[in-house]
């Protein structure tokens, strides 16, 4: 056991995977000698050589497109997109190609690969270093979308993603890269994809969240507890394929639901969670299904603290659905 930050756990996960499987290759912009702008790939080129961890030209389309070809021909590419905000030049390769290859080839060709990228606000990054684009990808059958919120899960989910037979988008909450430490086992272990994590038990209100919003919701739940409202806080961890039964189960347990994410609300991931419940468990609902999200605007810079959901906004929603 080592006590690691989330980004250190990612680094450990990469090293572990590369040690266990020579076909794992890591590449992207500045991931080599520099070790990545957040140092997630620090030391990889040194330990595994330039053939297995290397920099690429400045083209996300090229990074993901090449990864698909590598995966088709027996390598296990784990590529990095420097910021999730810069993944859109690769959108076509991800949505049209990686996600659809198995299907369109009748299973003859597949693209088991991982795209790692830091997402989310909190670093004063403005429009283009702060976005949470998960909903764009969750609407894409064939893709898996994973978001850890703890160092333990970061390593375990990353290794599971690298071992997965399908393409995985691995979104790392950069706001949590260094803010929290946790116990992380040495060597290889996995956290199964498509499983939920109960962060906190509670009978009154269910709070669904993921990534950097998990600690925010924990804080809000603690405050709610002081006011006598016990929250069941659920970390979704894998957004696609989602454990829908688990989500419905958790919603039914309290009959009152709050969904939290940083991304804009309209057509965001929270809408799907709400719709799942409204479609399959509405008779259990004792109050409106509330969403606490980023605003339906681009991501601002100076005022980002007003933009991002905080414990205060989450607590308001919890009290709203509880007192309804």
């Amino acid at each position: 056991m080592a006590n690691l930050t989330l980004v250190q756990a990612v680094n450990d996960g990469l090293k572990t995977a590369m040690r266990n499987d020579p076909s794992v290759v890591v590449f992207g912009e500045d991931v080599g000698p520099k070790g990545g702008v957040f140092l997630a790939t620090e030391g990889l080129t040194k330990e595994f050589g330039e053939g297995r961890c290397f920099d690429t030209p400045l083209s996300e389309d090229g990074i993901v497109g090449a990864a698909i070809g590598m995966a088709v021909n027996g390598l296990k590419p784990v590529c990095e997109i420097q910021f999730q905000d810069f993944i859109f030049p690769a959108f076509d390769q991800i949505v049209s190609e990686a996600a659809k290859l198995r299907y369109r080839s009748g299973g003859q060709y597949t693209a088991p690969m991982v795209i790692r990228t830091p997402y989310g606000g909190g670093i004063r990054g403005g429009l283009y270093h702060s976005q949470s684009g998960e909903a764009y990808f969750c609407h894409t059958p064939g893709l898996k979308v994973v978001i850890p919120s703890t160092p333990y899960d970061a390593k375990g989910l990353l290794i599971a993603s690298i071992d997965d037979p399908d393409p995985v988008l691995f979104l790392e909450p950069k706001a949590l890269y260094r803010t929290l430490k946790g116990e992380v086992p040495e060597g290889k272990y996995k956290v199964d994809l498509s499983t939920l994590r109960t962060v906190r038990e509670g009978r009154n209100v269910t709070v669904f969240c993921y990534g950097a919003m998990v600690p925010v919701c924990q804080k809000a739940a603690d405050q709610a507890a002081e006011k006598g409202i016990e929250c069941l806080v659920v970390d979704l961890r894998t957004l696609l394929p989602l454990d829908e039964e688990g989500v419905l189960e958790a919603a039914k347990q309290t009959g009152r639901v709050v969904i939290v994410h940083e991304a804009p609300r309209f057509c965001g991931f929270g809408g799907e969670i709400s719709a799942l419940i409204a479609e399959n468990a509405i008779e259990y609902m004792e109050s409106p299904i509330a969403r606490v999200t980023g605003f339906d605007t681009p991501f601002p810079n100076t005022l980002e603290h007003h933009y991002m959901p905080d414990d205060r906004r989450v607590l308001d929603a919890i009290e709203h659905v509880w007192s309804y």
Binding site: V25, G51, T56, P57, S59, D61, G62, G65, A66, A67, I68, G69, M70, A71, V72, N73, G74, L75, P77, P89, D92, Q93, S96, E97, L101, R102, Y103, R104, S105, G106, G107, Q108, Y109, T110, P141, G142, K144, P165, D166, S194, P241, L242, D243, E244, E245
Partner: protein, 372 residues
């Protein structure tokens, strides 16, 4: 070898002054026969489409020599990342017209399980003929990743990435050629310049002196070859492949040819192609050109042609009949191959689809139990 001069081998009279392709008579005849089979497949597909038996097809008249010449330069252990106008390469390497017809019909025997449009083939045997995608250019950079894996394992194989003149404007062309050159990957980029991207002529596609010269932007050799000259195309691809196998990196080859028809069975070229152009290029027909070469070698006669053509039509018509008689893919094929395993929500959606089909009395529903 400059990106500007057009390389050719077969002279108007069929002579190849001194050049030795080092091909057996059998190989030469296989190339010829394959071109005739491409033509037969086109003709049969067109008839089927006009008769409403299949929805769509992509004609290859005019570009047969480019496809077959390039294919003839490859080993079975190499990879082909094709475009939708490349099935001559598949035929050359022994993929059967029947397997192709199953795809044209999108039936239960189609390797893509009836999910793709016609001519969007995918084969793994006897050669890796990579799953064709509709989005233009995406496979160009994918081919480079495939080649990187070959480098990693120090294998002697090469990857042929084939695309059209229009494809050079795509994102995948830019990233693909750039990455391949930086990585010195074993890729042969084949730009089939048939001078049209649907209705868009090359003058609207690029202002460069040629497509081959685009190689300079990436630091790789560029070659412009006569695409209607099977031996010239084969030679340039062989040279590029040999260089790549030796670690010499990628090459961009422009095969200069002409699309002797519409873009697809949905397209009417008379709206935009001056017919003089068709007349001019009719004279340069790649099959006639190869016939003149074979004739000089005493390998060709009208009866040879007629026999091959008759065999081809017989085989392909039979294939069409069999494909037409093959049932639709099962309802479960909508839900399989999205992921390696069928997740919860797809299982639920699949079950609902089977229930509905059964209630509709639709055979696809079977007994209504989702079989996956």
């Amino acid at each position: 070898m400059t990106p500007q001069t057009l390389e050719s081998v077969i002279q108007p009279d069929g002579g190849i002054d001194g050049y030795d392709p080092q091909m057996s008579e059998a190989e030469l005849l296989h190339c010829y026969r394959t071109m005739l089979r491409v033509r037969a497949f086109d003709d049969v597909s067109l008839k089927l489409q006009r008769a409403g038996r299949i929805g769509f097809s992509i004609p290859n008249r005019g570009v047969e020599a480019t496809q077959v010449g390039a294919a003839a330069a490859l080993e079975k252990t190499d990879w082909i990342f094709p475009s939708y106008r490349d099935f001559g390469m598949a035929l050359y390497h022994g993929i059967s017209p029947l397997a192709m017809m199953h795809n044209m019909y999108g039936n239960a025997a189609d390797t893509t399980k009836g999910r793709q449009m016609p001519v969007h083939f995918s084969f793994t045997e006897p050669i890796k003929f990579f799953s064709i995608s509709s989005p233009i250019g995406t496979h160009i950079i994918q081919a480079v990743g495939c080649a990187y894996a070959i480098q990693q394992r120090k294998e002697p194989h090469v990857v042929l990435s084939s695309f059209g003149d229009g494809g050079t404007s795509s994102t995948g062309f830019h990233s693909g050629l750039n990455f391949a050159a930086v990585w010195k990957s074993p890729v042969v980029f084949l730009c089939q310049n048939n001078q049209w991207a649907i209705s868009c002529p090359s003058s609207q596609q690029t202002a460069s002196e040629s497509y081959a010269i685009k190689a300079k932007a990436y630091g790789m050799p560029g070659v412009k070859v006569d695409g209607n000259d099977l031996l010239a195309v084969r030679r340039s691809v062989r040279e590029a492949a040999a260089r790549a196998r030796k670690g010499g990196g990628p090459t961009l080859i422009e095969a200069y040819t002409f699309r002797m028809g519409g873009h697809s069975t949905s397209d009417d070229p008379s709206r935009y192609v001056p017919k003089e152009l068709f007349q001019e290029w009719e004279k340069k027909d790649p099959v006639l050109r190869f016939e003149r070469f074979l004739k000089k070698k005493k390998l060709w006669s009208e009866s040879v042609r007629d026999t091959y053509a008759a065999e081809a039509f017989e085989e392909i018509n039979a294939a069409a009949k069999q494909a037409e008689a093959t049932p639709h893919p099962g309802l479960e094929t909508i839900f399989s191959d999205v992921y390696a395993d069928v997740p919860q929500h797809l299982r639920r959606q699949g079950q609902a689809a089977f229930d509905l089909a059964r209630r509709k009395g639709d055979a696809a529903g079977g007994d209504g139990a989702f079989p996956l």
